[in-house]
């Protein structure tokens, strides 16, 4: 599973790779293994030793894609499903060969953070057309085909809904 943290650009890969004993786990974060020992757990939080360092975590709010937690008194937001870029790209028909669809539509609601192309630019399949902010993450919307930008339906700061047309690419 992939995770992204507020303030940090990196995306983190994390998974449980082994249950050593009842309260002891081996987990992998970004190819490094870590030993996790649970001391105390319930639905509101967890106390654990991570590589023998104590941490106390409270879960404040939890949606499928976003989790607000307090780690050792420090509030943080963790985003899950950071493959949104990919999901969005695929759903627009990207990576398929020979799309004939002109309209590039947004697959998610969000706010336009930046526009990477101008009308008249030539783009290739997979080039970033614009960046949306959604669920506190920045998601690149990529062109679903090779072509020329005929029209831009958005400007920076706009809010877009799911399925809104962002650009026409022919």
């Amino acid at each position: 599973m992939e995770f992204k943290l507020e303030d940090i650009e990196e995306t983190f890969n994390g998974e449980i790779i082994n249950k050593i004993s009842n309260n002891e786990y081996l987990i992998k974060i970004q190819d490094k293994e870590h030993h996790l020992q649970i001391l105390n757990i319930n639905s509101r939080g967890m106390e654990f030793l991570l590589d023998n360092h104590f941490h106390s975590v409270n879960y404040i709010e939890n949606q499928t894609a976003e989790m607000k937690i307090v780690v050792d008194g420090v509030p943080l937001t963790v985003n899950m499903h950071t493959k949104l870029d990919e999901i969005v790209y695929r759903n627009t028909g990207g990576a398929d060969t020979g799309s004939t669809q002109i309209n590039l539509r947004s697959q998610i609601p969000g706010k336009v953070v930046s526009i990477e192309v101008k009308v008249g630019d030539k783009v290739k399949n997979g080039d970033v057309v614009c960046v949306l902010e959604s669920m506190k993450m920045q998601v690149s919307v990529k062109s679903h085909k090779d072509g020329e930008v005929k029209n831009l339906k958005i400007k920076e700061g706009d809010s877009v809904n799911k399925n809104d047309i962002l650009a026409e690419i022919e």
């Binding site: 303030d7 994390g14 974060i29 319930n42 975590v57 989790m67 780690v71 963790v78």
Partner: protein, 496 residues
């Protein structure tokens, strides 16, 4: 002899007074508002009386109601704490009239301390320096200019009806003065319809240094050293320490003598505090006398070994102060951090609500005066001071490190607190070096540095956060699966 003290206050100071009274076998009477039904002072006093609604005017400031309780409980003395009625000479007079000992100065002395102009005049007579300026209102710009030239630029033109920065101008030259005078007059008239202007020397970078004062009914006066309280926000003290890093023994004694003079000049009795502004050039200027026990009294208790509430009671009983100035020796270093329920990033706006959990720090050289307990509530009706964290050390560095440690151990769930701010301040080189001034926060960009610290903390916690997310999402998935989960033990552990 005082045998039953009504404490006309709430929160940590009510608890503080109860502690000393209990140890001395003196009965205590607590009063409480609707909001404080479940407060610790109600439980810890010998007797407790409900006095009204949450709003201070309807309870803790309601003199008649409090007097009723004094009379019906048979209390023979009143401790006013700080705030509320503590510096209300009318209330002190009401106690005097009813033959109840008010633990503090006489109403007359309190009146004199409270009247800035009269008090300043008394100080000048007693040769206690005050901030140079016009002795009274100036009649026009010309007189203002004359005084400005006497005391030297820069000066402040202040409308006595101003406040909050309005009706105040700093003037650097004769050329600027005329215009500034008109502006201040205009602002004041626009705001309150009248104007009355004082001229005062402008002191650019000042320290707030105050002296603990004690005077008994026999005229014996001592000072119990200084406290430096320069770290403030919006004129409210945040961090206090004793000794002050810039007060040496010669200065301590010299200003201490002025403190004794000041106390005598207003015929002060009991404990009080003489506040000074200390200018960059080393001069001390009298500011005011606080006619009550100060929030920050514990740091003085730490370095003097005295119980100041006991000393208040002894003096109120008419006993002479049981030591001489020369008996007092300063022992070590003490710091106090006022743990406020406030959001540093919202311009210190109050943050109130229930406190499901709290861990109070302790250890060698650590004292925490607080009304907090797990399950209590921080009320929006009263001030934001939740706790006073005080540490002592043989050296300043020891007291500072113990404070940092205690701040780290202090966990208050439910409200924003000033704890992160204090951690940032105590780690700065400027604080360590004693470069203090009342504009410390602004001067050293503390809020920005706090933001950086918080960002850094977030980064430091990223691995733990990811690990927590990994575990939680595993759990979450198992929850949305069917109830015949593969790992029932794990599930039940998570659900319990």
């Amino acid at each position: 002899m005082i045998s039953k003290v009504l404490i006309a206050n709430r929160g940590e100071i009510a608890l503080r007074v109860i502690k000393t009274c209990k140890a001395l076998g003196i009965k205590t009477v607590a009063v409480y508002s609707d909001e404080d039904r479940n407060s610790l002072h109600v439980k810890n006093a010998t007797e407790s009386y409900h006095i009204g609604e949450a709003a201070p005017a309807k309870s803790y400031l309601n003199q008649e109601k409090i007097l009723d309780v004094i009379l019906s409980s048979g209390a023979d003395a009143v401790h006013p704490g700080y705030g509320f009625l503590s510096e209300n000479s009318e209330f002190a007079g009401l106690c005097e009239k009813n033959k109840v000992t008010f633990i503090g100065p006489s109403a007359a002395s309190m009146d004199l301390c409270g009247d800035k102009q009269q008090c300043k005049a008394a100080m000048l007579k007693a040769k206690v320096p005050t901030v140079p300026g016009s002795p009274d209102l100036v009649k026009d710009a010309d007189e203002a200019e004359k005084i400005a030239n006497e005391i030297g630029y820069p000066v402040m033109l202040k409308s006595v009806y101003g406040g909050g920065g309005r009706g105040i101008r700093i003037v650097n030259t004769d050329q600027e003065l005329q215009g500034a005078y008109e502006t201040v007059t205009g602002e004041s008239i626009a705001a309150v319809g009248k104007s009355a202007i004082l001229v005062e020397k402008f002191l650019a970078q000042t320290r707030h240094i105050e002296y603990q004062l004690a005077r008994d009914k026999h005229g014996n006066t001592v000072h119990i050293f200084e406290r430096e309280c320069s770290i403030q926000r919006r004129n409210q003290k945040l961090i206090e320490q004793t000794p002050s890093p810039i007060v040496d023994q010669e200065t301590r004694d010299r200003i201490g003598k002025l403190v004794v003079n000041a106390a005598e000049a207003v015929d002060y009795t009991n404990l009080g505090t003489v506040e000074f502004l200390r200018a960059d050039n080393g001069e001390f200027y009298f500011l005011e006398i606080n006619a009550r026990l100060q929030v920050e009294h514990p740091i003085t208790e730490f370095v003097s070994g005295l119980d100041l509430v006991k000393l208040q009671l002894d003096i109120a009983n008419g006993e002479p102060i049981p030591f001489k100035q020369s008996d007092l020796k300063m022992n070590g270093y003490a710091i106090e951090c006022r743990i406020n329920a406030e959001d540093t990033f919202l311009d210190f706006a109050p943050s109130t609500g229930p406190i499901p959990n709290v861990t109070i720090p302790s250890g060698p050289g650590v004292r925490c005066d607080t009304y907090l307990y797990p399950g209590c509530t921080v009320s929006a009706f009263y001030d934001s001071l939740m706790a006073k964290l005080v540490t002592w050390g043989q050296t300043f560095e020891e007291s500072r490190l113990r404070m940092l440690n205690a701040l780290n151990d202090f966990y208050i769930q439910g409200v924003e607190t000033s704890i992160p701010l204090y951690k940032t301040i105590l780690e700065t080189e400027e604080y360590k070096n004693g470069e203090l001034s009342t504009n410390f926060l602004k001067r050293f960009d503390i809020i920005e540095r706090l933001k950086e610290d918080i960002k850094k903390q977030r980064k430091d916690k990223h691995l733990a956060a990811i690990a927590a997310a990994v575990m939680h999402s595993t759990f979450f998935q198992s929850r949305v699966q069917s109830s015949t989960t593969k790992n029932p033990r794990w599930k039940s552990r998570m659900d319990r």
